[in-house]
Amino acid sequence: MKLLMTTAVSALVVLGTTAAMADIKLGASLSASGPAAFLGDPEAKTIEMMVEQINEAGGINGEKIDLVLYDDGGDPNKARTFATRLVEDDEVVAIIGGSTTGTTMSILSVAEDAEVPFISLAGAIQIIDPVHKWVFKTPHTDRMACEKIFSDMQQKGITKIGMISGTDGFGASMQAQCKDVAPKYAIEILSDETYGPQDADMTPQLTKIRNTDGVQAILNPGFGQGPAIVTRNKAQLGIDLPLYESHGVASDGFIELAGAAAAEGVRLPGTALLVAAILPDSDPQKPVVTAYKTAYEAKYGETVSTFGGYAHDAVDLMTNAMKTGGSDPAAIRDALEATQGYVGTTGIYSFSPEDHLGLDLSAFKMLEIRDGGWTLID
C-alpha cells in the first residue's frame, strides 16, 4: 500500500514540475511514432521548425511561443489523455494535432469541453461536419479528393469505373466517400475490390476488374506501398485503362516504388507543395510552398510531404489568429473563424461559421505522371 502511495505521490511531483512559465502556450498531440508516424513525424518536425522560426523572429506581438508537444503514438486513448493534459495541466491556449481521424475524434470533445481552439491534421469529413465551434482542420477531405478525380473523369467522358481500395484507415474512408459522391458526377462503380495493407500482389483483384464489362477507368484509394503494387501489377497485366490514384501517394517516393514506366500516365489529385518547382510564377501559392520546402529540406535533409504541409498551414493559421486575437482562447477562435484568403501550402483557406475547413476543390491540382515526373493538368 505504502508503495502504491509513494509511486503515486512521486509521480505527481515529477508531473507537476513540467509546467512551464508564461509566454503563449501552444499544445500539440501528434502520432510522431507508431503506425501513423508517416503522418505525425513530418508534422511534428514542421511544427517544431516553425515555432523556432517564429520565436527567432521575435515571437507573436512580442511574446514567445512555448510549444508543448506530445507523441500519442497513434493511440486514440493516449491522444485523449494528452489533450486533457494540454488543457488542464499545461494550460495551453490552442491545440494542433490529431494526425489520424481516430486521435482527432478523441481530442475533439476535450477541446470542445475546455473551449480551446483546435486545428486537426486528419482527413475525415466527420471532424468538421457537423461543425464544432472550437474545431477546425487543414487537410482537404477524402470526399474532395474523390470529387476532384470524378470531375476529371467526367471531362474525359468516363462514366463507368472499377475501384480497388486498401482496407487501412485511409483507403477505407476514401472508398466510402467515393462511393457516396459518385452519383453526383454520374459515375457508376461497376467493380469494388479491396486489398489488405500488407498484401504484396493485387493481380487477382485487377484481373477481376479487367473482366468486368464496361469498365473505363480504375480508381485506387489507398496509401503507402499498396498503390505502388497496384500500379505495377496493372502494367504487368497490360491493362490499358486510365489509372487514378489518391492524394495519399502524391510523392516522388511513389514513382520510385511503382517504377516510372508503370506509373506513366497515372493521374492523381495533389497539392501545390509537391509541384512547387513547376508551378507558374503567377500562382499565389508558389512563394509559400517554395519557402516551406526550402526551409524544411535544409533543416531535416528529407523531402517535404503533404502531411507536413497540413501542419505548416495549421501553425500559420493559428499564429495569425493569435496576432490579431491575442492570447485568449476565445479570441483566437474568433480570429481563426474570421480568416479569409490565407494562402497555405495545401490551398487557400477562407473559414466561416458554417465552414471550418475553408478549402474548395481548387486546393487540389490534377497531376499526371509523365517520364517519371509530375505534370500539371489544369
Partner: protein, 318 residues
C-alpha cells in the same frame, strides 16, 4: 484474520482513491486516475484467470473491444441507453467466452496462449473490416452517459474528469471486492488448486474444465466492462481497443504488479499507466525505460512487484 485482511485491502484502496484527489494540482490527474482504475478493473479480471486459475490469455483486449463497441453500436442502432449497453456488452462477452472457452481451454500453456491470441485478433479484424457497422479503422463516436446529466440536475456539478474518476473508482472497487471474495471462496480455492496442479485437482474431485471456463468467463466480463467504461469515457472508440498491443499491455500490467494478488494488479496498472505520462519528458527513451523496468522487476522481483516486496517486508525473503 483472513477476512479482516480482505477488508483491510479494500479499505486501504478505497481510502487511497478518496484521498488522492486532495493532492491533484489540476483536472488532468482525474483523467490519469480514471485510466488507472479502468485498467485496474480489466487487470483484476486477468488476476482471476492467470493468478488464481493459472490459465493464460493473450486475447482479452478482444472482450474489451466487444464491451467498447457495444456502447457505441447499441445506442446508435438499437436505441439502448449507454448504461444498459455496458450490460449488453458484458452478456455478449460472457456468451462468447463460454462458446470459445469450451474448446480452447482444453489447450494448455503455449497452445492456449496462441488460441486466445487468435480470438483477440479475430475481434480486432472484424471491428476493422466491418466498416458499414463499426466505422472501420477510423472508429465511431460513443454517446455520453446520461448519469452525469442526472447528477447535474441534482445540483452535483462534476467535470467530466471528476465524474469518470469517481465512476471508474467505484467500478474498480466493486471488481476488487468480488475478486477478493472469490479468492476466499470454495471456487477460489479450487481454482488455486487447479493452478498448483491440474492432475492433483482432478484427483480430489474438482471439475477442472468447468472451473477453467468459469475463470475465463469472469475475466472476460471484467475486460468487457472495462472496455465499455473506456469507450464511454473517451466518447469515441477505435479498433485499437481490441488490438494485440492492448492484450499484451493488460497481461504485462498483471505480471508486473504481481499476478497472484489483486492489489498487485492494481499497482501494475497504476505504474504502466503513469510511466508513459511521466516519461514524456524523455520521449525518445520512453520504450527503453519501460522495457528496463520490466526486465528488472522480472529478475529481482519474479513474483511481481507487490507480492515480492510484501514477502520481503515480512522477512520471509523470496
Amino acid at each position: 484474520m483472513k477476512l479482516s485482511s480482505k477488508w483491510m485491502q479494500l479499505a486501504a484502496l478505497a481510502v487511497l482513491v478518496a484521498v488522492l484527489p486532495l493532492f491533484f494540482p489540476s483536472g488532468y490527474y482525474y483523467r490519469v486516475g480514471a485510466l488507472i482504475f479502468v485498467n485496474g478493473l480489466a487487470v483484476t479480471g486477468l488476476v482471476i484467470l492467470i493468478g488464481y486459475a493459472g490459465q493464460i490469455s493473450l486475447g482479452h483486449a478482444g472482450f474489451a473491444g466487444i464491451g467498447g463497441y457495444a456502447c457505441a453500436l447499441a445506442p446508435a442502432h438499437l436505441g439502448l441507453p449507454p448504461s444498459l449497453s455496458i450490460l449488453l456488452g458484458a452478456v455478449i462477452s460472457a456468451v462468447l467466452a463460454v462458446l470459445i472457452g469450451k474448446p480452447i481451454l482444453r489447450l494448455r500453456g503455449y497452445y492456449l496462449a496462441v488460441a486466445t491470441l487468435g480470438f483477440g485478433i479475430l475481434v480486432s479484424m472484424v471491428l476493422t473490416n466491418e466498416r458499414a457497422l463499426t466505422g472501420g479503422p477510423d472508429g465511431m463516436a460513443v454517446q455520453g452517459l446520461a448519469l452525469r446529466k442526472i447528477l447535474r440536475g441534482w445540483g452535483w456539478k462534476l467535470s467530466s474528469g471528476e465524474f469518470w474518476y469517481i465512476l471508474s473508482a467505484l467500478a474498480m472497487l466493486v471488481g476488487v471486492w468480488i475478486a477478493l471474495n472469490l479468492f476466499q471462496s470454495a471456487t477460489g480455492r479450487a481454482m488455486r488448486a487447479l493452478h498448483g496442479s491440474e492432475v492433483a485437482a482432478r484427483t480430489v474431485g474438482i471439475d477442472v474444465a468447468r472451473l477453467k471456463l468459469q475463470a475465463f468467463v469472469i475475466s472476460a466480463v471484467y475486460a468487457s466492462v472495462a472496455g465499455s467504461l473506456l469507450a464511454l469515457q473517451n466518447q469515441f472508440v477505435t479498433p485499437d481497443i481490441a488490438g494485440f498491443m492492448h492484450s499484451i499491455e493488460m497481461v504485462t500490467m498483471a505480471v508486473l504488479g504481481g499476478v497472484g494478488s489483486v492489489l498487485g494488479a492494481v499497482t501494475g496498472s497504476a505504474i504502466l499507466t503513469l510511466l508513459p505520462q511521466v516519461l514524456t519528458v524523455f520521449a525518445e527513451y520512453e520504450q527503453l525505460v519501460l522495457g528496463l523496468v520490466m526486465i528488472l522487476v522480472m529478475i529481482f522481483l519474479p513474483r511481481g512487484l507487490l507480492p515480492s516486496i510484501a514477502a520481503k517486508l515480512k522477512g520471509r525473503g523470496e
